[in-house]
């Protein structure tokens, strides 16, 4: 890409003005969408329409907090989110900061122990925005605090369905960027129908992690798949997190030979499961469909995936789609991510961190553009409702119910020798309308309303 003022031809027929207005109007928005190279050099302050607003914007840096897992087994997910958030912050700062002035300083804290205390410390330290957490339980715990403290939080994951249905039914300051449980599970139910055919699926089973997340996912999957196919559930196993031995669950699957086995295992447990399943020839008897199996992409060894039959979702981001060669923003994000410490390939959790920061930053930019001053917490929250923005994963919308709305990705999980990690083959995309209830409708009521 030439570093000159782009012409209409360079940008595929979109001029700079049109491009900027399409992605939200500012240099920061362009940088976060991964389109900064389409702008002039670096796309700094001078090019952002929302950038210069006179002297009404304070100059001191924005203190932001990110609650994520930085170690242990869930570090596989959390460190991805951390790196994603860090890259987004870096891009914002390189583009001149929020409103062309305010750099972001991101404070990352492990959510492993006493996350509520860590969150409260963020507030005590006067953080202007918080991001995270990863865990559903933690999210349920801090969302009410977010509402009380009246400081915007954009959740990275914490994908529990009941968050905006029961825990905080009418949120003001709490938002969630990533696809939540219903979306990722319905994606995989549809993917199973797509790959195998509704008439071919007569029996289903599940091997899910033995805690709330796994139990919730299995419950939703049962509801969705029975509506879609009328299949019978023949086995549900729940190995403990970090279980060393899953042979009992695998033998049960072998004995029942279900057409589809659903799994929401993640991280290291995926490798243990897949490896022991291969050793027991489980893939002769079933096809596995999982929501978060691909979270182990950089961790699962080649021999474990040989001869398997696995489809995995990847929430709202898969780095390889559109193909890197055809999608410059995707290419740049991939290169930047893999250059970071601890990222073999960026997974959906990478986007959780990147997208949460992007959602907030672009909303603030938009507010500055409209107001001419730096917005209050209430104004930012208002701006985030219904806010549309771009990341290299595509277009996202923060719906009125505070739940992010994006496309979903799913494909066949195979090992890629060149990459030294797993990739998804033959990727399918599902729109938010196919995977999530409309705002205001509870997930289970929506599933109930499907005609079977």
């Amino acid at each position: 890409m030439k570093r000159t003022e782009p012409t209409e031809r360079d940008t595929g027929g979109i001029g700079r003005r049109r491009l900027l207005s399409a992605i939200g109007g500012s240099a920061v928005a362009a940088a976060l969408a991964g389109c900064s190279t389409l702008l002039s050099d670096g796309g700094g302050q001078q090019s952002g329409d929302g950038g210069d607003s006179g002297g009404s914007i304070p100059e001191e840096p924005i203190q932001a907090g990110l609650l994520t897992f930085t170690k242990g087994a869930p570090g596989v997910l959390g460190i991805q989110a951390q790196r994603g958030a860090e890259l987004a912050v870096q891009r914002i700062n390189e583009a001149g900061g929020i409103g062309g002035q305010r750099r972001i300083e991101l404070d990352v804290v492990d959510e492993g122990s006493n996350p509520l205390d860590s969150y409260n410390q963020f507030i005590e330290e006067g953080k202007e925005v918080t991001f995270g957490p990863i865990s559903s339980g933690t999210h349920s715990q801090i969302a009410p605090e977010v509402e009380k403290n009246e400081v915007v939080n954009v959740g990275t994951d914490g994908t529990v369905t009941t968050l905006y249905e029961e825990t905080v039914p009418d949120p003001t300051y709490s938002f969630r960027f990533q696809n939540y449980d219903i979306m990722e599970v319905v994606t995989m139910a549809r993917e199973a129908v797509e790959r195998i055919g509704a008439d071919e699926i007569e029996t289903v089973a599940g091997v899910n992690p033995g805690y709330s997340f796994g139990e919730d996912e299995m419950r939703v999957f049962k509801q969705a798949i029975t509506k879609l196919t009328g299949a019978e559930v023949v086995y549900e196993g729940f190995p403990e997190l970090g279980a060393s031995d899953m042979s009992n669950h695998i033998t049960s699957i072998n004995s029942e030979q279900p057409d589809v086995t659903f799994s929401s295992l993640w991280g290291g447990d995926v490798t243990t499961f897949v490896r022991q399943a291969s050793a027991n020839d489980m893939f002769d008897n079933t096809t596995v469909f999982g929501t978060t199996l691909y979270s182990a992409a950089g961790d699962v060894p080649a021999d474990a995936l040989a001869g398997t039959d696995i489809y995995s979702g990847s929430r709202n981001y898969y780095w390889g789609h559109p193909a890197l060669g055809n999608w410059q923003p995707g290419r740049e994000l991939f290169d930047a991510a893999t250059a970071q410490d601890g990222v073999t390939v960026p997974t959906a959790h990478y986007m959780s961190g990147y997208g949460a920061v992007t959602a907030w930053a672009t909303a603030v930019e938009k507010a500055i553009d409209l107001l001419g001053t730096y917005p209050s917490q209430g104004q930012i929250a208002q701006m985030l409702e219904g806010h549309g923005f771009f990341t290299p994963a595509g277009y996202h919308n923060m719906a009125e119910d505070h739940q992010g709305s994006s496309n979903s990705f799913a494909g066949a999980m195979v090992y890629d020798d060149d990459l030294g990690a797993a990739r998804l083959d033959d990727v399918n995309i599902y729109s938010a309308a196919e995977t999530a209830p409309p705002p205001g409708v509870a997930g289970s009521a929506w599933l109930d309303s499907w005609s079977s």
């Binding site: 170690k71 009992n248 243990t272 490896r275 050793a279 060894p301």
Partner: protein, 313 residues
Amino acid sequence: MAGTLETALVQTLNGVQFGFILFMIASGLTVILGILDVLNLAHGELFSIGAYAGIGVFGFVIGVVGPPSGVLGGVVFVLAVLVSVLLTAALLLPVGTVFEALFLRAIYDRDQVYQLVLTFALLLILLDVKKFVWGNTSLRTDAVYSAINSIPTSELVGLNYPTYNVFVILVGIAVVAGLFWFFDRTKTGRIVRATAIDREMATAIGVSTDRVFTLVFALGAFLAGFAGAMAVPPTAATLGMGTNPLVLSFVVIVIGGLGSLRGAFVGALLVGVIRSWMITLYPPGEIAAPFAIMALILLVKPEGLFGTWGETA
């Protein structure tokens, strides 16, 4: 494979396999308890150090031997794995020695609660030593599990059961036999048992209890390391992996009777097999099952199945 009988058999074998791993861990714990009267809370960490160290040793030894090919190659490979496991376990001998001689010996005559604090302190320290040495992410050994599984065993009798699990069961039987032989037949083993039965009498006939204690603690560490190296190939070594086996071992030794080797053996297989059936028949009961078994057995037999360490091993 769909036959009910075959499923029942394989599920039971799964339980037996799990039970043998559990026995390797619990046996060390119970022997230390029976003779030193110390509950070693750091035992799970010794197990996990065995797993981490085992990954390194496997990598080195298997790098020398190469993947198995043909019958002879298969035998050589299995022997290489066994040697690696023994080497790993041997690495834990000095750890056990230092623990006993340096830390524990000073406080035998104190309130028992200090021994709990001490071994818990060692647990915390080892946790971070592991973090320092092996890092924060999980580690894996990729060569052993699939290579051993590629050697046909159960397939020969028409059963679909991973060869590695067969290997674990066979090694487990050897460990059980070896331990009973050691305590029943060897001079050192008899001295240890004599010390367990009557410490003062053993001293009176010229046994150095200090040495016996060190030996027993090192043996416990050896067994924990052995178990760690055996358990790691199908899964991964993680920082928190010591907790679950430790708690399950508590259950096993309470069921079997504190300090009873025979009790640990029966308890481990019982927990392994019943847990296995629980997962098959009533999956939500997986975590609670061992504790429920324990509560049941204690209601029927408050001293555990085999009482405490006594005249027989």
